[in-house]
Symmetry: C2
């Protein structure tokens, strides 16, 4: 019996490659969190929010104006980003000021921009 029985609906062609890949493969949880992180950047609105916050601390109103979107929509997205630990906020009077909480975000943006400009 092949050792790929029950594993998928086809035969292993290159068992060695599969073994190596499987051995090096990070654990499930790592991929889930990695994908979760990229998913957060993988939305035009959130992308813009993060770009703007990378320039300046901003309140919800500032962001709504910068992106020409509703406060509510921005607030929902900021909630998502806050719960994921990518932005943090401080309250001052009626306003809530947001900033990036992670220094990696800028770097990821850079690499992403390199990618899309590279393949025009």
């Amino acid at each position: 019996m092949a050792r790929n029985e029950f594993v998928c609906d086809c035969n292993v062609i290159h068992q060695e490659s599969v073994d190596i890949a499987r051995k090096k493969m990070p654990k499930e949880d790592t991929f889930n969190r990695l994908a979760e992180f990229f998913k957060l950047l993988g939305d035009t609105t959130r992308s813009k929010i993060l770009f703007a916050l990378n320039q300046h601390e901003m309140c919800v109103c500032d962001l709504a104006n910068t992106l020409s979107m509703s406060k509510s929509s921005i607030s929902h997205q900021l909630g998502t980003l806050r719960r994921s630990g990518i932005v943090k906020c401080r309250k001052s009077g009626k306003e809530v000021y947001y900033t990036l909480d992670d220094e990696h975000v800028s770097r990821v943006f850079e690499v992403g921009l390199e990618h899309i400009s590279h393949r025009n």
Copy 2:
């Protein structure tokens, strides 16, 4: 009249911040393509596929085995990645071998991994 009239449903609090952010903001198309790129990495299955292909050239069967998924599912995802220019393929006999087409993907992974390990 404020110059943010019709722009959103609130008052601008810090016009200067908004102006600077808007000035530096890349154009719409850039954000669309950037988000599109990150969206491709923002899925556990595609993430794993790209990780595996970063180790070895692989055929659909190899990937299906490595990830314990159906050929069809893998093939659909490979189609998406191929149409986005992130993977390329060569045909040999009955098999189709896939490889990464972009050297940036590895780097993005690295930064992403840094991020999620940093904030445990």
